[in-house]
Amino acid sequence: MSSIITLTLPGEIMFARLASQTASSLADLVIGENREESAKRKFCHAFELAVSEAVTNSVTHAEEFDAPQMLTVTFEFEPRQLTVSVRDANPPFSIDKSAPDIESYPVHGFGLKIIREIMDQFTYRRDGDANIITMSKSL
């Protein structure tokens, strides 16, 4: 059986932090007591960071529009993995961008690279007027 947790937020920068903190407390809950402290910490940090990256991307683009919009972050807690999806109403985009070249001292563009590195699954789809990013991490 799986449990669903839903968080809806205004598409504004300040709320990205809220989503990542909720993600961290959920990760801490599902990882359970039977793990080594360092493994628990690593899992929780990875999950929190991935949510922070996805939601920050989403609110950054949302803020480029005049009309306020809401974001929906859905967590699904399954026996073997924790999944999160981020849904927004921004224009479509691609997650298949290459990572920025370090030698050019880039200040943007690391988010997708980080997500791909720390999560086990990472997909994007367009659903009508919505973007949906889905990320999973195995327990």
Partner: protein, 116 residues
């Protein structure tokens, strides 16, 4: 996020505490020592709990302000979570990173001395 600043000779030691993300990054970007091209800054990350790629971008942006990309910003005392963000993105290649602030300050002072 909280920023506290002390100095050691010509070196500014800027300590960042809390969370460095999209909400708090502007405060680092606008810090007076960070934006001064000639000021050598040791960023003490000992009390930085969490940093995402926006925060990382702000630290690279701070380095971009400096006349001396080799030692304009020197990093010290990051925790494993923060270190992982530097490693995943390979940004650690751009910085000298120390496990203690005194060593970072000593390095920065020596390099700065060699340039003046």
């Amino acid at each position: 996020m909280n920023i506290t600043e002390t100095s050691n000779g010509a070196i500014a030691i800027v300590a960042i505490e809390g969370r460095l993300d999209a909400l708090s990054a502007p405060e680092l970007r606008n810090n007076r020592s960070v934006i001064d091209p000639e000021k050598t800054v040791v960023l003490n990350l000992e009390k930085l709990d969490f940093m995402n790629s926006t925060g990382l971008g702000a630290i690279v942006g701070a380095l971009n302000q400096k006349l001396q990309p080799d030692f304009g910003i020197v990093l010290s005392c990051m925790n494993d979570d923060v270190r992982s963000v530097f490693e995943i993105t390979n940004v650690q290649k751009l910085f000298h990173i120390f496990d203690d602030t005194a060593a970072a300050v000593e390095f920065a002072t020596t390099r700065q001395g060699a340039h003046t």
